[in-house]
């Protein structure tokens, strides 16, 4: 009987670890792990997962209607409910939840029009950054050929973005900091070759 030697055992452990840290595949149904990840998120992480999801979805599927769905606490709660009874991919659940929750009335007292850029990236905590990238991955999961994402772990992508935005430059002395701060995170993900979009066909 063939026995697994220690080298082979190490190989299998390595493969298992790689599989665990690899991002979710860009097709197929949501694994139990996706919904577990969602449920494990804090309210803030759910918010930034949606930010990443929407930022990723927008370039591949430019809005054709004037209706703007909102992602807010009601939407996160609806995803909780959908995740309990559906095996659809997490990105689909997020999309469904946005469409099911009525748009909120415009808040006249708020500030509007910012985008998720380097300033957001600098301000987020590490776990919020991970949630943002997870949201991008969940978007890619349901975008078929329109959105392709490189096979890297979420933490690897977070680190690459930290490096690209030079977040360690707290005094804004590195010329790259100010040159890149206004670049949307989703564009930065393309620049560091994590994400690639191809235009969706018009219907």
């Amino acid at each position: 009987m063939h026995r697994i030697n220690s080298t082979s055992r190490s190989f299998f452990v390595l493969v298992a670890l790689l599989l665990w840290f690899m991002p979710h595949s860009a097709n197929g149904q949501t694994s139990a792990r996706d919904s577990d990840v969602w449920r494990s998120f804090s309210s803030a992480q759910k918010r930034y997962a949606f930010f990443g999801f929407i930022d990723c979805r927008k370039p591949a599927f430019p809005p054709t209607k004037t209706i703007r769905y909102n992602a807010d606490d009601r939407t996160y709660k609806r995803v909780d409910e959908l995740a309990d009874k559906s095996t659809n991919p997490m990105g689909q659940l997020m999309l469904d939840a946005m469409k099911e929750v009525p748009p909120a009335r415009a808040d006249v007292h708020a500030e509007h029009g910012s985008v998720d850029d380097g300033m957001l990236w600098r301000g987020l905590l590490d776990q919020e950054k991970q949630a943002y990238v997870q949201g991008v991955f969940w978007c890619a999961q349901i975008s078929n050929a329109n959105t392709t994402i490189s096979q890297q772990s979420i933490q690897q992508v977070v680190q690459k973005l930290n490096d690209w935005y030079v977040v360690t430059d707290d005094d804004w002395k590195d010329p790259r900091s100010n040159a890149r701060v206004d670049v949307p995170v989703i564009s930065a993900l393309q620049k560091i070759e994590v994400l690639r979009f191809t235009a969706a066909k018009a219907k």
Partner: protein, 160 residues
């Protein structure tokens, strides 16, 4: 005197905590990726929470907030407020004084109150005064994680 200052610090911290954790002030995004943030509303709430009357500066007579750029212009033109250095801003906040960090913006500005030092263990960023930020994220952060000089002058305003 020390007791009064301690109570003033606590009042400021409580008002900031209430604003940062207020569900109404959390940033949201719509399906087109447009963000809605609430720094100007939070500035009003913190002023009111600390018992500071800023009618005509941060909000109108009905209590409705002005947008951030208007608030910043009003602070700059107010006889009751003056610009201070970042170091002075932090020192005053450490005594419980309500001080605002501001940045006038082309589309919209940003305003946040300065947070007393030593209250929080997990502060985002590393340089500049500490701010109780309500905006694209709600939490305590150094200036470097909230504003970049590339977006315009960062000015702190303290009461006379």
């Amino acid at each position: 005197m020390a007791q009064q200052q301690s109570s003033q610090i606590q009042s400021l911290v409580d008002a900031q905590n209430a604003a940062m954790s207020n569900g109404k002030y959390q940033p949201t995004t719509d399906s087109n990726g447009n963000l809605t943030t609430h720094c100007s509303e939070a500035a009003c709430a913190i002023a009111k929470g600390t018992g500071t009357n800023l009618t005509g500066i941060l909000y109108d007579a009905k209590g409705n907030n002005y947008d951030a750029n208007t608030q910043i212009n009003n602070l700059a033109n107010s006889s009751g407020y003056h610009a201070v250095t970042p170091e002075q801003a932090q020192a005053l906040a450490d005594k419980g004084v309500l001080v605002f960090g501001t940045q006038h913006g082309a589309r919209h500005g940003h305003i946040a109150s300065v947070r007393p030092e030593g209250v929080d263990s997990n502060v985002r960023g590393r340089s500049g005064p500490i701010l109780a930020n309500v905006g694209i994220f709600n939490g305590v952060a150094h200036q470097s994680a909230v504003m970049t000089p590339a977006h315009g002058a960062i000015v702190y305003y303290a009461p006379n």
